[in-house]
Amino acid sequence: MYVAVKGGERAILNSYRMLDDYRRGDRGVPELGLDQIREQMPLAVSRVMAEGSLYDPQLAALALKQAAGDVIEAVFLLRAYRTTLSRYGYTQPIDTGRMRLQRRISSTFKDIPGGQILGPTYDYTQRLLDFSLLAQREADALPAGEEALDSAMSRVTDLLAQDDLIDAEPVPEGDPEPFDLTRQPLDFPASRAARLQNLARADEGFLLSMGYSTQRGYGNTHPFAAEIRYGALEVEMHIEELGFAVTVGEIEVTECQMVSQFAGSAEEGPKFTRGYGLTFGYGERKSMSMALVDRALKAGDLGERADSPANDHEFVLYHSDNVEASGFVQHLKLPHYVDFQANLELLRRMRAERGEPEAAQNELMDEAVSP
């Protein structure tokens, strides 16, 4: 006689304990401090802030620790936390032209006003595992007395704009409030503001693959990296009662401006067109991928061929969020036995009808519903 199994609640509580143990690992090893994660895994912290849509390195470090290093799980934690926070309003737009730069490069010109500044980058390292890191090794202190970088370095795209070589980014008529993806569902056709916000918090891997596809013939934008910047800037907010804007904090961002050729149209002569990428923290791969995809999504509006996956607005924008994607893919782990049962019986019945009409002992039959 079958006895129904109970005890789901206890199973769940046990799984919490086992997870805590798994996350902590060998108790003989010192526990991770948030300061260690924040300071020594800043690229993971940057990614969690960017995709979590919340700038807070300490909380991002906490999320990474709680998630045992799973970046997407950490992003989810940060997003869920963000939902609980009070909203005060919108900041002023940040001016990346006034960044306190740590890194600034351009691939479109050999030299630019202010110079090419490599900054802290893996770009020119040899990818050889550095076994000296097996032991604790003090990083050499940066020499004192380095000149602060001139923060007023003009943007390469502004230089191109001076010669009317690049498409203008006009402010929409009436300067409306930008679409806020955290408060409204996406609808189509999606405005550029909505698209950029979607891409800013999109999964880095997804954007990387989409961007890569445009370089391999799925869409053809022939991009150049006009400028990539990484550094810190102040964030300001206009306070109604005071009547002016005050600084509420400082954040680090990475910005990438891609330019691509545009053949022109009946109305306009040929120009360069932009792709724009911006992330919280230090996220170059992400900001570059974002710029490629931003440009690819413009193809239809520019009258170019737009039949590749990266040109498809709904395809890109509906599948870019890793919290949504992870949730839905992993939801397949939930019990689905009621629906599976329905399918199982239909399959058995269909097979019985095809092959062995007399053999199958059909437990399940159909009964017409009275209208």
């Binding site: 963000r82 609980t84 709904e314 949504e324 009621v338 049962q341 009964e367 209208p371």
Partner: protein, 297 residues
């Protein structure tokens, strides 16, 4: 006799029902419009919840926006109060509302469900909240949301009828056995969520209010009480529900949806009610001498 759960301790760090009041207002407005346009999917600004998308965030947001201190909440998944996800959601609401929870369908004022409608008929005044993975009935025909919006606006549903008829032509049966599409109030085509088609008739003319929440897809929709809900079919192939030759191994019911349990490697099978509360109730009544136990006969 059904179990009342000890309420999980209310966590005062969070607003009642977790959502902030502005989010609740947004959801409440969407739900009112949903009730005014039966079967139509209202977009809403879904928030990230502490459970993942795909695990019931839409249902949770709907419940969170309607629930009050005096409500009694039942949560089921696959028809059972004891499945891990139902427990998780019930604990969540215990923690953020302190509201009484129950396993008893008649005692509940709000029933949040995944994939089943309870066997016990619902009463006027009760609200069912369905967890919906994919709200759009036309999605498998047409991936584009812009296109499906237009199809609904024009009531252009021919493609779905063609698809079902193709199943009949190829297999002799309509291949859809759950999440079976319906027409609501003679106007909008709707997905009733992945309930087995066995449960579809329970939607038609029910005295209860049915609310549907899709968190990841960011849509809510509703079927008001006493509203016509008709499953798609054809004159020569009318809509049919499943029946079993077996009855429930535990309570003997011949009226309920049965789960198949595999007992050993030889494939020995037993069938038991999917609705565990209904089944437990019948068993209790039998022990008290109420209903005869057909299984024992």
């Amino acid at each position: 006799m059904t179990t009342q759960h000890a309420t999980v301790e209310r966590d005062d760090h969070y607003n009642f029902a977790y959502l902030d009041e502005s989010t609740k207002r947004m959801l409440r407005r969407a739900l009112l419009k949903a009730v005014a346009i039966p079967g139509y999917q209202v977009p809403f600004g879904s928030r990230e919840m502490p459970l993942p998308y795909g695990w019931g965030t839409g249902g949770i947001q709907v419940t969170a926006s309607i629930i009050g201190r005096g409500d009694v909440l039942k949560v089921i998944d696959q028809g059972s109060d004891d499945t891990t996800n139902a427990i998780n959601i019930r604990r969540f609401f215990g923690r953020v509302t302190g509201v009484a929870t129950t396993e008893s369908t008649p005692a509940a004022t709000i029933v949040q469900t995944r994939h089943r409608i309870p066997e016990t008929p619902l009463a006027a005044g009760q609200i069912m909240v369905f967890q919906v993975p994919i709200p759009e009935p036309l999605r498998w025909l047409e991936p584009s949301e812009t296109e499906t919006r237009t199809m609904h606006a024009l009531a252009e549903y021919g493609g779905m009828h063609v698809k079902l008829y193709e199943d009949i032509a190829q297999h002799g049966h309509i291949a859809t056995t759950y999440d079976y599409p319906v027409i609501v109030n003679d106007r909008y085509m709707m997905r009733p969520s992945p309930i087995p088609k066995f449960d579809n008739p329970k939607l038609d003319g029910s005295p209860a209010l049915m609310l549907f929440g899709a968190g990841r897809e960011k849509r809510v929709y509703a079927v008001p009480p006493y509203t016509r809900v008709k499953s798609l079919d054809f004159e020569d192939h009318p809509f049919r529900v499943e029946t079993w030759t077996e009855c429930c191994d535990l309570c003997g019911s011949r009226e309920s949806y049965l789960d198949e349990i595999i007992l050993d490697d030889a494939g020995t099978r037993r069938y038991v009610c999917s609705d565990t509360e209904y089944c437990n109730d019948r068993q209790a009544q039998q022990r008290a001498g109420g209903i005869p136990d057909e299984a024992a006969a």
